[in-house]
Symmetry: C2
Subunit: 498 residues, 2 copies
């Protein structure tokens, strides 16, 4: 067969596997948004079957042979060659796990998820413990099957950001921690800002409309996506032409929905920007979760918690919530949305203390996977760490170790990408600022075109062509540095906390 024919056969196979994976994603989206409660058990089974099929098809011997053959062809164009390289890497990783194991994992995730939801209702870790322990055992087995150097946790982090290691993350966090503590210490001695007006009553429907409008203003295409309500905001997609975000609305907390819209919106713009003609192929997929998170944090924080964005959107704010914001200037609003204070909930944390939320989970996960922490000891360890890093007492499990959904999903190795995303975001944003000196002015005029074009060119259109590190270097001229975030934060918070 000619190379072109072989490649076409590879593409068809990959697209069919993508069809199954995306079908599974639709079932999961539905589970979080619209599934009636009694449908849970069969839904878990349906998702497990699709996971098993997708894994079987991708790890099929014929697929392996096709990839080997295509790897040997010299006449592949560069982008096709890169797809084959990446698929071969994925293949070699995936064949280490049996389809039965993948199904077992999927079923264990389903049990854990429901146990977690139950534990949340009871506000007690206890009924989550057993299923979680089983899941952790499976994740340890997974790490062993995948193989690793130095630390089993490396094998799991690789799922979210290829090449990421404990030693890299440790050294970044070791750099970050003391500098964050200096910043936090300085703030502690200043008068805190007043953000009480963000906690008035905000009508749900008005918030919903406001969120939709904000999504439109940052460029979310509602012809190729939608927003719905779920318990925990997330972004998913079933092609780059169907990207879905969810949000939640708290009538007494303006920020709860607004920053989820901006955060998930940032993720969604990335997915909508991926090349549709690469559907099912690596070059149609996002680079890594760290880079994905850089996109959400860029829109949520660098832009969405910046003064220029709210100078432009102040009139929308006052039109939507005239009673609440009529006498609030953009500057007051800007200070309020950037209030720094240690708190219990990661997703509601300010940009500085946020990293400690991530570091605590990262440390706990490492210990769970290496076996130096037992599942039953999670709550005690969690509460101790919050006291140590943030100086706060965790009153109950819902405000503590039950707050995040990730462990119930089996997503071990994920959390570090949240902090890395913030660091990448700061570095990318600094580059955009340096290339467009009028950026602040543009944002104050509601013009996000330059940012959109830059992200499209430097990030979106590359798919998985480059690794996180390579992409960062290509886009910013340097590999990831924590200094950009520290500079950004120092400038911002020393202005706010004079």
């Amino acid at each position: 067969m000619s190379t072109a024919e072989l490649y076409a056969s590879y593409q068809t196979k990959m697209q069919k596997i993508a069809d199954v994976k995306y079908a599974s994603a639709v079932l999961q989206w539905d589970q979080e948004t619209y599934l009636p409660p009694k449908g849970n058990d069969f839904r878990g089974q349906q998702i497990a079957t699709l996971s098993e099929i997708a894994h079987q098809q991708f790890t099929d011997k014929a697929m392996g042979e096709l990839l080997v053959e295509l790897s040997s062809r010299e006449d592949l164009p560069a982008s096709q060659k890169r797809n084959i390289q990446l698929s071969s890497e994925d293949y070699n990783r995936n064949v280490k796990l049996s389809s039965a194991f993948v199904r077992q994992l999927s079923e264990s995730v389903n049990q854990s998820y429901h146990a977690w939801a139950k534990a949340r209702k009871e506000n007690s870790f206890s009924s989550f413990e057993q299923p979680l322990q089983q899941l952790i055992e499976l994740k340890k087995q997974e790490a062993d099957m995948l193989g690793y150097e130095q630390h089993p946790y490396n094998a799991l982090m690789n799922d979210y950001d290829k090449g990421l290691t404990v030693s890299k993350v440790d050294s970044l966090f070791d750099e970050l921690k003391p500098q964050l503590l200096v910043l936090l210490d300085a703030i502690k001695n200043k008068n805190n800002v007043d953000d009480s007006f963000l906690f008035q009553q905000f009508n749900k429907d008005d918030q919903w409309k406001f969120g939709i409008e904000i999504l439109k203003r940052i460029g979310f295409d509602f012809e190729a996506g939608r927003q719905d309500i779920s318990l925990h905001p997330f972004t998913t997609n079933f092609s780059s032409r169907d990207v879905r975000v969810t949000t939640r609305i708290d009538e007494h907390d303006f920020g709860n929905m607004t920053w989820s819209c901006l955060h998930e919106g940032g993720h969604a713009l990335y997915e909508q920007g991926l090349p549709a003609d690469q559907y099912g192929l690596p070059l149609g997929e996002y680079c890594s979760l760290s880079i994905h998170e850089s996109q959400s944090r860029l829109w949520e924080n660098c832009i969405g918690r910046g003064l220029p964005f709210w100078q432009h959107n102040s009139s929308l704010l006052k039109k939507s919530f005239s009673d609440q914001f009529n006498n609030i200037s953009p500057e007051q609003f800007y200070r309020a949305i950037n209030k720094v204070a240690p708190s219990l909930i990661r997703t509601e944390a300010d940009e500085l203390t946020y990293h400690f939320h991530v570091i605590i989970r990262y440390e706990i996960e490492k210990m769970l996977i290496e076996g130096s922490l037992q599942t039953k000891d999670i709550p005690a360890c969690w509460n101790e760490q919050y006291q140590k890093y943030l100086g706060i007492t965790v009153p109950d499990d819902n405000s503590g170790c039950l707050q995040d959904i990730h462990w119930s999903h089996g997503s071990f190795g994920y959390f570090a990408t949240y902090s890395l995303g913030s660091l990448y975001a700061a570095q990318l944003f600094a580059t955009i600022e340096s290339q467009y000196p009028s950026l602040g002015e543009d944002l104050a005029n509601g013009n996000v075109n330059n940012i959109q074009q830059w992200l499209k060119k430097e990030i979106y259109c590359n798919g998985r062509y480059y690794s996180s590190e390579e992409l960062c270097k290509k886009a910013t001229g340097e590999s990831l540095q924590s200094s950009y975030f520290i500079q950004y934060a120092t400038k911002k918070f020393s202005e706010i906390y004079i």
Copy 2:
């Protein structure tokens, strides 16, 4: 292997195939309710892939061998034996179609569906013609592959009601037509009833809440299902624990949503009543589309267009729409919702003229499949038939041959089950009435327990154990007779049209 082990292996295989089919149903439900427009193409591809996989897995040689082996085992309990029998019949039918053909059909359906939606927008059949013609060619091929006696249309009707034939349907319709014409003729000479109050302005949110309440009152379990909005009301399910109905709301037509809720609600009660422990197996599936339709028509018409039901629900009606219904008595309401008049749209037709809508489509389909009518000639033929049977002029394609979604779905052989469903419903209802003489009184008190229990025992819990004919005989003592419907209609309409 022991028979029990073999059966367990069969059950596991069947459940996994069901997982894939139900996943496909979720994707289709989403397509009709929430899919953003640009997601259409990839969605079509995803559904086609799932159809292909489900077909491949079910027609796998190993499945055939397993079924043969199980068929030879004498020690199977009766219900398991029946599952094996039915699965063997399904298998023998399905292996006649290749997976590639199933995929081609699914893709053709996707194209036709979008062409139909486009044609609806343009109110012109022309852009639907080509894709429809291709689809009809495939359906003819399908009939040939499946094999048939006497008429190719028999092969297609079998998909919806096993054993149904052109000669059976023709003879039922030949019986029905003159009797309907006599009834219609008698009505034509009476003063028509006043239903103008059903066409006032009805607030959308109030209608939505009213519909949900009506669904609850007939026994729809919202823990095991939900209602959403779609262009065309339908019922689907992803297990008996997750059954979804959709509706549409017309602010100027009270009946549009209300009877869709009762109709789809009747379908949904059937699905929710099927045995969950038979998930994925024939005994967990509905008997036939004719019987399915009997359930929707029973709740929509025999109950939902009956006086006792509205005697009970009159207070809800007046509470929900006090301005519109304050001065309307249950008797006035009952007469209005049973107004008989030839009309253009099947789903809005009265119980009598409804059958002509079905007969017209049935006749056209037979001709299309036998090749005596060309696709391009559908609009002319349609309009001629409406003139002939109902004496009305079709003003445009949207009110004519584009009104139903079925052809765009490739559902040829389906329509007759609508009329059969009405006939079955009348026969079942007559039996229930004879067994519970207080039925009218019960309904007037809002008590639907006896009906629910009877349907559960006689219909729901049997799954596919009996054929339509057998089920009817077992439940009513007789095979299907058009006389029950004629008696029901004669009594009802001679009371209304005095």
